[in-house]
């Protein structure tokens, strides 16, 4: 992810000069003191204003009208909860102190102001900002304030900061589900068939054509005929992650959509790290997908697709049948969904009927609110029963479901399926 600083450009901004808050207070003190001195005819009030008047006397009328600023980001893409550094380079006005403050955009956490003291012809500062939620976000507005030596005048320039792509924080997942039947493609999972892997599979009698270096001498001595050691083949598996973006319920920052994206990002990262071929289907207002693949570039493509697809609730046709190209035969399908959209339930039935091994990670962690009346609580109870019925019906057709709270690691809910191979039923 580390890339050279992304240039955003050099800009010439107009400086708007005015009294500083400090100078306004001095003016207030001086005017109020002089007025009271005149009205009450008390000379001591005129004397009271002397320090303020003397400090105001250092006011300079001629000031620069423009500044040159160059802004760049250390990376165009970050993961939510991590810092992005905005590098600000100011040229000219080196006799004035400069202060950088950021009025942050939505879901952006800004640090404190950065002071750039006078005395350097080229001044560079790095401002740390932290996106707290995934999405394409505006970082906010950078306010550059120049102050003169006596703190009386302030020149302000405002610059819109660039947008940044913030990706969801991948959920923790260290184990992986491995299917019992794997496609014949070289990988890292020991398969049932024998091959050139490193895991011991058994001992059998020698047949012409076998490699002599695999002769098992103890077995050969015992049986009196030549025997060989055989090893399990190592295969890769196709994993397709389905992210259900049709619904978004719950508190901001921990909605079902947040959990769907974080869970999907975690699964994609984990399976690609295990050299599996991973694909992604975004189940939203429209269907978007990328077929299984491998490698770092593929990883970036999948995460980009996840961020590019807008969530939606609009009716779209053709969602119930997932395309064949997106789902290679024998794939393991991991679905992240709150299971609230009946179209997704139908789609899951469809893929199960087509013989895929499917596991659903249920991310629903909220219920409809009710005001406490009897009718309302009855409706809530009916809703819960309906949800239980949906999950039960999926289990009945061979689609197991696990519940994930969005906080803990995904290893915990998936533990029953990661301890041993998942038998692929047809």
């Amino acid at each position: 992810m580390a890339s050279p600083a992304e240039p955003v450009g050099t800009r010439h901004l107009p400086l708007r000069w005015g009294l500083s808050a400090y100078a306004r207070r001095l003016v207030t003190l001086a005017l109020a003191g002089l007025i009271i001195a005149i009205v009450t005819r008390r000379a001591e009030f005129a004397g009271l204003t002397a320090p303020a008047l003397l400090m105001l006397a250092t006011w300079r009328p001629d000031r620069a009208a423009q500044l040159t600023v160059r802004v760049s980001l250390d990376t165009p893409t970050v993961v939510e909860g991590t810092e992005v550094l905005v590098t600000v380079e100011l040229s000219g006005q080196d006799e004035l102190d400069a202060r950088l403050t950021v009025d942050p955009g939505d879901h952006i956490l800004a640090g404190t102001a950065v002071v750039m003291p006078a005395g350097h012809s080229r001044r560079v500062a790095r401002v740390a900002l932290e996106p707290t939620r995934w999405g394409r976000r505006s970082l906010g507005v950078l306010v550059i304030t120049y102050t003169d030596r006596y703190r009386l005048a302030e020149g302000r320039a405002v610059l819109e900061l660039p947008e940044i792509q913030c990706r969801p924080l991948p959920a923790g997942l260290r184990s992986s589900i491995v299917l019992s039947r794997l496609p014949s493609r070289l990988g890292e999972h020991p398969a049932r068939s024998t091959g050139d892997g490193g895991e011991f599979a058994g001992v059998r009698e020698f047949v012409p054509g076998d490699r002599q270096r695999r002769i098992n001498w103890p077995a050969t001595t015992r049986h009196g005929t030549v025997h060989l050691t055989t090893f399990a083949a190592e295969r890769t598996q196709n994993v397709v992650v389905i992210a259900d973006e049709t619904t978004d319920v719950g508190d901001p920052g921990s909605t079902s959509l947040d959990f769907v994206l974080r869970g999907a990002a975690g699964a994609i990262t984990r399976y690609l790290a295990a050299r599996d071929r991973v694909g992604l289907v975004i189940f939203a207002g429209r269907l978007s997908w990328i077929g299984p693949g491998q490698g770092q570039r593929h990883h970036q493509r999948l995460l980009d697709l996840m961020m590019a697809t807008p969530g939606g609730w609009e009716r779209a046709v053709g969602l119930t049948r997932l395309p064949r190209a997106a789902l290679p035969p024998g794939s393991l399908i991991i679905v992240f969904s709150p299971l609230l959209d009946p179209r997704l339930i139908e789609a899951l039935r469809d893929v199960r009927e087509r013989g895929f091994s499917v596991i659903v990670v249920d991310v629903l962690n909220s219920e409809p609110g009710h005001e406490g009346s009897r009718v309302s609580s009855l409706a809530g109870r009916l809703w819960r029963l309906e949800q239980e019925a949906i999950r039960f019906s999926l289990t009945q057709i061979g689609v197991p479901g696990v519940h994930w709270d969005g906080v803990s690691s995904l290893d915990e809910p998936l533990a029953p399926y990661t301890r041993r191979v998942l038998v692929a039923h047809r």
Binding site: A43, G47, A113, H120, A125, A128
Partner: protein, 205 residues
């Protein structure tokens, strides 16, 4: 700031203690200024109590304003009732120039009492100190930034002392003491001019 002019990335928690100290200094000076201007409350003219209430309220709000400014900026999601209430409260605090209002209220409080030149001179020192403390707490600038102002502050305080002396002159009997005070006043004015004029001439540098 490094030698090449590169400023450090801001640390999140390090300046909190320094800010707390500056806020405490501004609060202490503000309270002292109000107390000094209002004391004795019974000795003031009509409206002293009302002005005292205004001064205390404005002082408290100016401190709240400083605290809000010093807090790490974070935009709430704006979805919950608590977020909306917090946004309204912040808007109310930031709406008016509370420090200026407090300054005017304190001066009026002082004016409501009978003439006491030395008392007003002390108030001038404390009030100037309060405004500087508010400025430092607001901008998070180091105390060294005030170094350039020291000659002007000294000259201003000298002139304040001069005004106290001139206010006291009519009450003194004619004689060598009055002559001595007049000579001292002229010398003080010369010193003040000597401090202030070079700063004024060099303000463009």
């Amino acid at each position: 700031m490094k030698r090449d002019g590169t400023a450090q990335a801001p640390a999140r928690l390090a300046p909190l203690r320094r800010r707390g100290l500056r806020l405490a200094a501004a609060a202490t000076l503000g309270a002292a200024v109000i107390w000094w201007a209002a004391y004795p409350v019974s000795g003031g003219g009509g409206g002293t109590r009302l002005m005292l209430v205004i001064a205390i309220a404005a002082g408290a709000m100016s401190l709240a304003q400083l605290a809000v400014t010093a807090t790490v900026t974070r935009h709430p999601d704006g979805l919950t009732a608590a977020d909306r209430i917090a946004a309204h409260a912040t808007g109310l605090v930031m709406m008016l120039p509370w420090a200026e209002l407090m300054t005017v209220a304190v001066l009026v409080l002082e004016a409501l009492h009978s003439s006491r030149p030395w008392h007003t001179a002390v108030l001038a020192v404390a009030l100037t100190g309060y405004l500087l403390a508010v400025h430092l707490a607001e901008t998070d600038a180091g105390a060294s930034t005030l170094r350039a102002l020291l000659p002007l502050l000294s000259a201003g305080l000298g002139l304040t002392a001069l005004s106290v002396g001139s206010a006291a002159l009519p009450d003194l009997p004619a004689g060598p003491v009055v002559t001595l005070i007049r000579i001292g006043a002229v010398a003080l004015a010369a010193v003040a001019a000597g401090l202030a004029v070079p700063v004024w001439l060099g303000r463009g540098q």
